[in-house]
């Protein structure tokens, strides 16, 4: 479980690399009529829900082990 959570957190770390590119004149998020903002929004929502699901699963696992 811990491994999966760590993996998820590390994947989320890749999001910070998007932000690093923004200082340049060609902002990735502003290209193609800002479609990547929508991609980012969907990624945020999905990752929040997935993290929540992992927490539910952890609770379930504790119940199973009892």
């Amino acid at each position: 479980m811990k491994k999966i959570l760590n993996l998820l957190l590390l994947t989320l770390l890749s999001l910070t690399t998007f932000a690093q590119g923004e200082s340049g004149t060609n902002d990735f998020f502003k290209s193609n009529l800002k479609i990547y903002v929508v991609v980012a929004v969907l990624t945020i929502i999905l990752s929040c829900i997935f993290i929540f699901l992992f927490f539910i699963e952890r609770r379930l696992k504790k119940l199973e082990e009892k």
């Binding site: 932000a19 903002v37 929508v38 945020i44 929040c48 829900i49 609770r59």
Partner: protein
């Protein structure tokens, strides 16, 4: 509480959200003008402009006659020449006499295009008029404003409105906005459960109220984070992350009020976990929950109406007027709201059932 175990509404949320996500991917943005070059023109000189559009159909059979105007203030001027060079490109020339330059105030000119299929669309402040310092009295070709005659202003396509600044991010309407709807509905469910507990003290009502707040906060956090990134690239373009957060908290009343409301519910979770005695805990939490909901309603629905906010529909006007949502957006927005709310209740039902098993084991 049979709704926890019935399946049809869970399937409904799957169907609705699949439809919404597919719609948000496959429906194109409506016709709009992406660029007009050159961006400046001098008086007494004929300038030819290259107009590039997005998702327009100039060469289509249904387009009919493609018309184009230069607009300053509320006056429309016909171009000297206008030629369609492709489905999404056109060429137009225009000149302003220095005798007339003072009537162009402010000195920015909009470009407006109409055809029968794409309707009317425009690029505001597309061209800047550079005024001459000395008026050439011999210049000819004085412009007279025309009255545009169009068949229809509304486009005949299935597409999202092309808005400057927003562009493709208008699709976030199906993801960011329903987060708050889902949060509100979950908190309302929590309120109902708390009131039920006060009327009829059973532990199951306390469980429902507590879990509903947890899931509602999940949606609240999603709504907040998505709003943060959306505003960074639309309202606060070119502003650093630190300033975006500062502006959102200090300048946008809706964001600040939503954060305050969410803190009240975080306090609910703390109260719920800090009292050991189960019946006492349930009673205190239920009473607190009723007050928290009132504060939530005040913060999210009343406070933002009192003052101006960057959010559409605030500062006195009800949200989602006919200008904010067009028919294509509505086609996906209402299913999105229902779909996300149902998904929230689905997650809630899993949490509650898990809690029930835990309580059964403990007793």
């Amino acid at each position: 509480m049979n709704w926890l175990y019935s399946k049809w509404w869970k399937w409904l949320s799957v169907v609705l959200l699949t439809y919404v996500v597919a719609g948000s991917f496959f429906v194109k943005l409506g016709p709009g003008i992406t660029s007009v070059t050159p961006v400046a023109m001098y008086t007494d000189t004929v300038t030819t402009f290259q107009i590039t559009c997005y998702h327009s159909h100039f060469n289509s059979d249904k387009a009919g006659k493609v018309q184009m105007w230069f607009k300053n203030q509320s006056k429309y001027y016909a171009p000297l020449s206008f030629k369609v060079t492709g489905n999404e490109t056109a060429e137009a020339s225009f000149a302003v006499s220095s005798l007339q330059q003072d009537s162009f105030k402010p000195a920015s000119i909009d470009v407006v295009i109409n055809d029968e299929l794409d309707g009317t669309f425009a690029l505001r402040d597309a061209i800047t008029l550079v005024k001459a310092t000395a008026v050439d009295s011999s210049s000819t070709g004085l412009l007279t404003p025309t009255e545009p005659e169009v068949k229809h202003n509304k486009h005949q396509l299935v597409c999202y409105p092309y808005r400057e600044i927003l562009y493709e991010t208008i699709r976030n309407t199906f993801f960011h906005v329903p987060m708050w709807f889902a949060m509100t509905m979950l908190l309302f469910a929590s309120l109902i459960a708390s009131i039920s507990f006060l009327i009829n003290p059973q532990t199951k009502y306390d469980t429902v109220a507590h879990q509903a707040v947890v899931v509602a906060l999940l949606f609240g956090v999603c709504g907040y984070l998505t709003g943060l990134i959306w505003s960074k690239y639309t309202w606060y373009i070119g502003v650093s992350w630190g300033d975006v957060i500062r502006k959102l908290l200090l300048e946008d009343i809706k964001m600040a009020a939503a954060l305050v409301a969410m803190f009240f519910y975080f306090a609910y979770l703390i109260i719920h976990s800090s009292i050991e005695d189960k019946t006492k805990r349930a009673k205190v939490a239920a009473v607190y929950n009723v007050f928290a909901f009132v504060i939530f309603i005040l913060c999210v629905f009343v406070l933002p109406r009192l003052t101006d906010s960057m959010h559409p529909g605030n500062g006195g006007n009800p949200a989602f007027s006919k200008y904010d949502l067009d028919s294509t957006l509505r086609m996906f927005f209402y299913p999105a709201v229902i779909g996300w709310i149902l998904l929230g209740f689905w997650i809630l039902s899993v949490c509650i059932r898990l809690q029930f098993i835990q309580q059964k084991r403990e007793s």
